[in-house]
Symmetry: D2
Subunit: 356 residues, 4 copies
C-alpha cells in the first residue's frame, strides 16, 4: 500500500474512532484480549499481610479514632495493591481487621452485604444479631447474613480484634447494596455463653420443627470446639485407613447452613483447613478469589510466583486462577473464605488440580 | 316406569355389567364414593400396642425361633387390625419389634426399602451399615437407607430389643422392591463407641469437604444426648419468652440429612416430641399415617374416637387424617415416624389444626 | 430330635403364633420373601384391552346409564385381572374409557387425584378446567391437575369417547384423597378453539411474566399438531445423522410443565412414542408400572411372557419390572403413561435395558 | 481542645494513615458511605444511543475495518459515559452493534461469557453454534451460552447488523473468563430455515426424551413469530377480561430455557415488552441494571431525571435502582435484557413499583 493511501486510511480510521467516542461507542476489536483473556488475568495480585503489622496498627487506631455513628465500625481493610484506589482484598471480597476497645460499642445497622467475623484471638465481645447476643471467642466463626441488624459491644476490660469478611466489592460493583441504621441503643446487654440460634439449630442433624423460617442460615455461630473435633476426626480416620480427608494430610470442613446444607453465606464460602505436620497440598487453581488467615501453626504458601512464610494471624489473598500450594513442617490450621458460591450460582465454577 | 320396563332395563344393565366383567372392565359410577371419598377414609384403624405385651412375646420368640438366613431377622411386626391379612402398621409403614439374644447375629442383606432402628432400652448391639459399625443405645435413632448393606450383632450377654421402622407396605404396593443377600460373615466385629459416619458428619453445620458423596443421609446415627439437648433448649427458650417450640409446652425436633437438610430418610419422617408436664397438643389432622412410641413418661392420646393411656414403650398407629391430640400430666417424650415425605414429594401434603 | 421333643416345640410355636395374632402382631420371618422379593413381583399382570371391545361397551353404557351427580362420570375402568376386586389397571394407575353422548354434561368436581384425558378419536367435547374451556380433539393430551375444578360438556350431535388416566389407586392406597363437588351449572358454555392457558403458556420457551402463579402445570392442553411435529423432527434428524431419537427408529416426547420443565403431572408421566416402520425397541424393564394406548398404526408387543397384536386404540398394562419390547412393521404411534414421577420423587427409579 | 492538642492529634492521625498505606490497609470509616450507600448509587448513568447514529457508524466500520482472527468480531460496544475507560453499557452488561458485510465470516471461538444476538432488522446471516446453523431474522433472539463454539457467516449480498448482549463486564470484574479459538474454517455452510436445536426443543411443553443433556438452554433460537403471538394473546386476554398482562396495556414474555423453565441464560434475563397504544408503565425500580432496544413503534422513556424520545432501534441503559417509566402513544415493542438472574441467584433481588 502506498504511503499516501495508508495515511488516508489511518485518517479515516481516526475519524471513525473519534465518531465512536462522540457517540459513546467503543470497538471490541482493539481491546478483545484484555476483556476476554484466555484464562482469568486478575488485576488483583497475591498479597501477604502480617498479623504482626496489622494488630499494632489496629491498636493504634483504637487510641486515635472513635467508634460510632457515621463510620460505624473501627475496621481497617486489607487493600490489594493490584486494585489501587480501593480497599478490596480481591475484586469480590472485603477483609478487614476490626478493633473494639474495652467497653466500646459499635452501633446497630443492617445492609445487603453479607458478613462474617472470624476470631483469631481474644474474647469478651458479643455481637447482637437481630437481638440475639452471640459471644465471640477464639476460633469461632460468627455470621451476619444480609439485612440482619447487628451491633457489637465489648463487655470487658480488654480490647479485642478480629477479622471481618464481606462481599462489599461485589455488591458495590453490581450496585446491589442497601443500608439502614438501627437504633442507637444496644438491643440487649445480655452476655450468654450460648446464643439462642445455637440453642435451636446447633445440634447435628436435628431441625427444630417450630422454629421460625429464616431467609439465611438460622445458625449464626460455629464454635471452635466443633470445628476442631471435625478436623481431628478426619485425620484420625485417615490414620485408620478410611476416607474423609481432602488429600493426604489435609482435612477440610466447610461451614454450612443447617436449614439448606448449602454454604453458610449466599456469596461467601467459609472453610477451615488443617495440615498435618509435614503435609503439602496439591497445587490448585480455582476460578474465584480467596483470602486465608493462619489460625494456628506455621506454613509456607506458594501463590503464583510468590512464596510466603506464614505465622499465626497472617492473611493472604489469592486472585482468581492463581496456582496455590501450602506446605507445613509443624502443622497448621487456617481459615479460608472465597467467592466460590457466586461462581457456582452463575455456572462459572472451575477447578484444576495438579497431579502430585 | 312400568314394572316390566324396569325389569327389562335391569336385565340390560345386568348384561352390560357381565360384559364389563368379561372384558376386564369396571364402571366408576358404582364405586366412585369408595374410591374417591371426600376426605381420606383409611381401612387402617387407630391401634394401640402395649410394650408390656410386645416385649414378653419378643423374648419368647427369642427362645423358640432362630435368627439367620431366610427369615433374616427376628422381627415381629405390628399388624393393624383394619388391614387383615397384612403385617402393616399403616397402609405405608411397617413397624416391628426386633429381638437379638446374647451373642446372636442377624446376617447381611440390603434392599430398596428404607429402614431405621429406634432404641427404647438396652445396649450392646452394633449394626454394621456398609461396614461401618454403629452402636445402638437407648434413645438413639439409627438409619439404614435403601440399598445399604446392613447386619446386626449382639456383643453382650444380654438380649436387646428395639423398634424397626420401614416403608415395606408402600414399596410392596407400588412394586418397587429389590433385595440382595450379603456375605454370610460379619463385615466387622469392631465395637467403637462412635461410628465413622458420625465422626465425619456429626458436627453441627460442618460439612466434610473430602468425604465421599452419599446418595442418602451420610449421617446414620442420631444420639440421644443431642436430641435431648435440642428438646430441652426449646422448652427453656419458651420459658424465656422466645420462639422455638411448636406450640405451648410442645417441643419437636426432626431428624434430617445433614447433606441436604431434608428428611433423614426419603420416604419416612422421624421426629422426637416432648410434652412438658401439664401440656396438651392441639387436635391435628395430617394427610398421611404415623406410628408413635412413648420413650419416656406417660400420656393420654385421643385418636379419632379412641382414647389410650400410654406408658413407656407403648406404640400406636394413626391413620391418615385421623384427628390426634396428646395430653401429659407428668411430661412425656415420644418418637414419631410418618410417611409425610411421600406426601410432600408428590404434592399431597395437607394439615388441619384445630384452634385451641 | 425325638418326635416328642419336636411335637413339644411345635406346640410352643403354635402357642406363640396364637399369642402374636391376639396381640395384633405378625412375624417377619414367615413372610419375608413375599414382602421383600429379590425384584418387583407384581400382583398385576400384563393385560390387553382391545378397543374393538371397549368402545361398543362404552356406547352401550351410554344408552343405559345416565351421567350426572353421584356417579359423576360415565367412565369404565380397565380392571387388571391380577388385582381382583379392584378397578385398577396397575397398582398405582387408573385407566378408563369415558363416554359422553350428544349434548351431555358431566358435572363439576375437584379432587386430590391427578387426571388427564387422551383423545384417540372424535371431537366436540370441551372440558372446562377452573372455568377455562379446553377443546378435546384427536391426538390431544388434556390435563386436570389435582384440586382443579373440572367438568365436561359435549356440544355436538355425536357421542365422544376418550381415555382418562388418574392416580386413583395410589391415592386410595396411601389415603391421600380429598373430593369436592362444584356447582351444578356449567361454569361456561364457551367453545373456543384455543383455551386461555394455551394462549398464555403454549409458546415454546416463552414465559408470560404477568400470568398468575400456578401450583401445577399452567399449560393444560398439548395439541397433536405439536406432538406430531416434534416426533417427525426427531426421525428426520435421525435420517440426517443427528441425535434426537431415544434409540434407532424410536422417537419419544415427554409432556412437561412449561413452568418447571418437569413432568406435566406430579404423579403421572405422559409420553408419546413413535416407531418407524420396521423398528423395534430394546427390551426394557422399568421399576414402575405403565399403560399404553396405540394411537395410530399397528405393532406387536412382548410383555413378559405375553405377546400382543396391537391395533389402533388398543390398551395394555405393563406391571413394574416386566420386560417390554415393541416391534412395528408399518409404523406406530402410541401414548404411554406411567407412575415414574412417583419413583423418581422417592428415590426408587431403576431401569434395565437389554443390549440389542 | 487547644490548637496545639488538635495539631498533635492530626499529626498522629496522618502518621497512622501513612502507616496504613504502607501496610496495604485502608480504613472503613472514611469511606463507608461511598462503599455502602443507603440504596444503589451506580456510577453508570442513564444513557440513550440512537439507532440513527449507531448504524451509520457500524456501516462505516464495515468499510474500514476487516473482521477476522484477533479482533474476532466487528462489534462496537455501547460505552456508558458514567464508566469512563470502559466499553460497558452497565457495570455488568455489554451491549454492542455487530456488523457483517456481504459474504463475510466471523471466525469460531468460545468463552465463558454468555452471549445472545437480537435482530432488529435484516437477515441472511447464520450463526453456527456448536456446529448447528441458526438463521438470524428480524425479531429473533439467538443464544450463545457460555463455552459454546460459535461463528457467524453472511450468506447474502447485503450487510447485516444486530445487537450483541454479553456479561463481559461481570465476568471481567470477578475474573471468571476463559477463552478459546476454534477452527479457522467454518464448521458448516448449511443454511437451513430451522436449526436442529429448534427442531428438537422448539415445541411447547414437549421434551425430547432421547436428546443429549445440555448444560445450558438446549433451545438457541426464539423466533419472532412465537414472541409476537404470545404478546398478542396477552393483550387479547386483557380485552376479554382475563389475567395475563403484567399491568394494564403492558404485555411481557420472558425467554426461558425449556429444559429448566428458568432464564434462557444463566446471567442475563431476556424479555420482550409490548405497550398497547396509549399505555404507560408504572414507575419501577429494580436492583440490577438493564439495556432496552426499541423493536417497533415509538415511546417516551423516563429514567431517573432523563426523558428520552424513542424510535425504532434506539437503545438505552438503566442503572441499578433507577426509576423507569415508559409511555407510548402509538404502541411499542421493546426488547430488554438485564442482570436480574445474577441478583436472584445471589439473594439480592429487590423491586419497588410506584402505586399508580
Amino acid at each position: 500500500m502506498s504511503t499516501t493511501k495508508a495515511a488516508v486510511q489511518q485518517a479515516e480510521l481516526d475519524e471513525l474512532y473519534s465518531a465512536f467516542k462522540a457517540a459513546h461507542m467503543a470497538p471490541l476489536w482493539t481491546q478483545r484480549e484484555g476483556l476476554m483473556p484466555d484464562t482469568p488475568r486478575s488485576d488483583a495480585v497475591p498479597t501477604l499481610w502480617k498479623w504482626a503489622t496489622l494488630l499494632p496498627l489496629a491498636e493504634r487506631s483504637g487510641a486515635l479514632v472513635p467508634v460510632g455513628r457515621g463510620g460505624e465500625r473501627r475496621a481497617i481493610a486489607l487493600a490489594n495493591p493490584g486494585l489501587p484506589g480501593t480497599a478490596y482484598a480481591t475484586p469480590t471480597l472485603w477483609a478487614a481487621i476490626q478493633y473494639l476497645g474495652p467497653l466500646e460499642e459499635a452501633p446497630s445497622h443492617r445492609h445487603t452485604q453479607t458478613a462474617f467475623r472470624f476470631v483469631i484471638e481474644g474474647e469478651g465481645v458479643w455481637t447482637n444479631v437481630e437481638g440475639d447476643p452471640v459471644a465471640m471467642r477464639r476460633g469461632d466463626l460468627l455470621l451476619t447474613p444480609g439485612m440482619h441488624f447487628h451491633e457489637h459491644h465489648n463487655t470487658g476490660e480488654r480490647a479485642m480484634a478480629w477479622i471481618d469478611g464481606l462481599d462489599i466489592p461485589l455488591v458495590r460493583q453490581i450496585d446491589a447494596g442497601f443500608f439502614e441504621l438501627g437504633p442507637d441503643e444496644l438491643a440487649t446487654r445480655d452476655t450468654p455463653t450460648t446464643s439462642r440460634n445455637e440453642r435451636l439449630w446447633g445440634h447435628p442433624g436435628l431441625t427444630p420443627v417450630g422454629a421460625p423460617t429464616a431467609k439465611a442460615s438460622p445458625l449464626l455461630a460455629y464454635r471452635w470446639e466443633h470445628t476442631d473435633a471435625a478436623l481431628r476426626a478426619q485425620l484420625e480416620l485417615e490414620d485408620e485407613g478410611y476416607p474423609g480427608v481432602l488429600e493426604a494430610g489435609h482435612a477440610v470442613v466447610r461451614f454450612t447452613n443447617p436449614a439448606t446444607a448449602r454454604d453458610a453465606l449466599s456469596t461467601i464460602r467459609c472453610e477451615m483447613h488443617r495440615l498435618r505436620p509435614g503435609a503439602s497440598t496439591a497445587t490448585t487453581r480455582i476460578a474465584g478469589s480467596a483470602v486465608w488467615q493462619v489460625f494456628h501453626g506455621t506454613a509456607t504458601a506458594r501463590i503464583g510466583d510468590e512464596t510466603y512464610r506464614l505465622d499465626r494471624g497472617d492473611l493472604f489473598a489469592v486472585p482468581s486462577w492463581a496456582p496455590v500450594s501450602l506446605t507445613s513442617e509443624n502443622g497448621m490450621d487456617a481459615f479460608r473464605f472465597s467467592d466460590e458460591p457466586v461462581f457456582a450460582a452463575l455456572g462459572l465454577a472451575r477447578t484444576a488440580r495438579a497431579e502430585s
